[in-house]
């Protein structure tokens, strides 16, 4: 798997967001195998928040 090296940028104020959480989720539908973590048994969702405006965002981790 390839690490998510690029920061997430806030869609509202274009500032770099803070990566503050990773949540294991278990999707029921079809999933791109590249996102499945075989050790953890699911998909790791990265959660980010903007330090300027508080907007939240998430993306699937590839770490």
């Amino acid at each position: 798997m390839v690490a998510n090296a690029s920061p997430v940028v806030c869609a509202t104020c274009e500032r770099e967001m803070n990566h503050h959480a990773e949540k294991l989720v278990h999707p029921t539908g079809s999933v791109d195998d590249g996102y499945l973590d075989p050790i953890l048994g699911g998909i790791v969702e990265e959660v980010h928040a903007c330090p300027a405006c508080g907007t939240g965002a998430s993306r699937r981790s590839t770490r």
Binding site: N18, H19, H20, V47, G54, S58
Partner: protein, 189 residues
């Protein structure tokens, strides 16, 4: 500490039942939140959310509700106890989001017609809230025999509830401030 922008702490009224006694409870919580400096609130009535019931989870996500959860710093969930549990529609609504909740505070207000103030429903709800990524506080408010607590027009008859609500909200606001700082400034390492 002065926040750069107000905390947003909506109140979720977690029942669609006709004649629900939880409605004046939710309005009281909104009123108590509204009177605090630096706090914005709103009443989210699950009966008014246009969520599908022929699917579940994030497939049913309502954009307006999701935006409110994204904006929220904390939640107050008003949860009546039905047959020793929380309402199914409340669970359906909560399950429609996930990442919007993570590292945000939540406090639960239990309501019941009996003597336990929704305590059994709250205990069942806590692990659900944890799995959703919310951070539960250690204060609850229990409205027992709620039919006696408010008059016919929904005005609180028992002022003893106000200091309990005050303690609950002080803890919730502290947790909301702390978690906002963490979300926005402390990197997961």
């Amino acid at each position: 500490m002065v926040e750069p922008r107000p905390l947003f702490i909506p109140v979720i009224l977690g029942t669609v039942r006709q004649g629900r006694r939880s409605a004046p409870v939710a309005r009281l919580m909104v009123s108590e939140l509204s009177g605090r400096p630096g706090i914005e609130t709103d009443l989210i009535d699950v009966a008014r959310l246009p969520l599908r019931v022929d699917d579940a989870g994030e497939a049913t996500k309502d954009p307006t509700f999701a935006a409110q959860m994204n904006r929220a710093d904390a939640l107050v969930v008003v949860s009546p106890e039905y047959n020793h549990g929380y309402s199914g529609l409340l669970k359906h609504v909560l399950d429609s989001c996930l990442r919007e909740y993570i590292h945000k505070a939540v406090g639960v207000v239990g309501v019941s017609a009996g003597p336990f103030g929704g305590a059994r429903g709250i205990q069942d709800l806590l692990p659900v809230l944890r799995e959703l990524g919310l951070v539960t506080i250690f204060w609850d408010v229990h409205f027992a025999t709620v039919q006696n607590v408010f008059d016919e027009s929904g005005v609180l008859r028992e002022p003893a509830y106000l200091p309990r609500i005050d303690k609950f909200l002080k803890e919730l606001v502290w947790m909301a401030r702390t978690l906002r700082h963490g979300r926005e400034h402390i990197v997961l390492e």
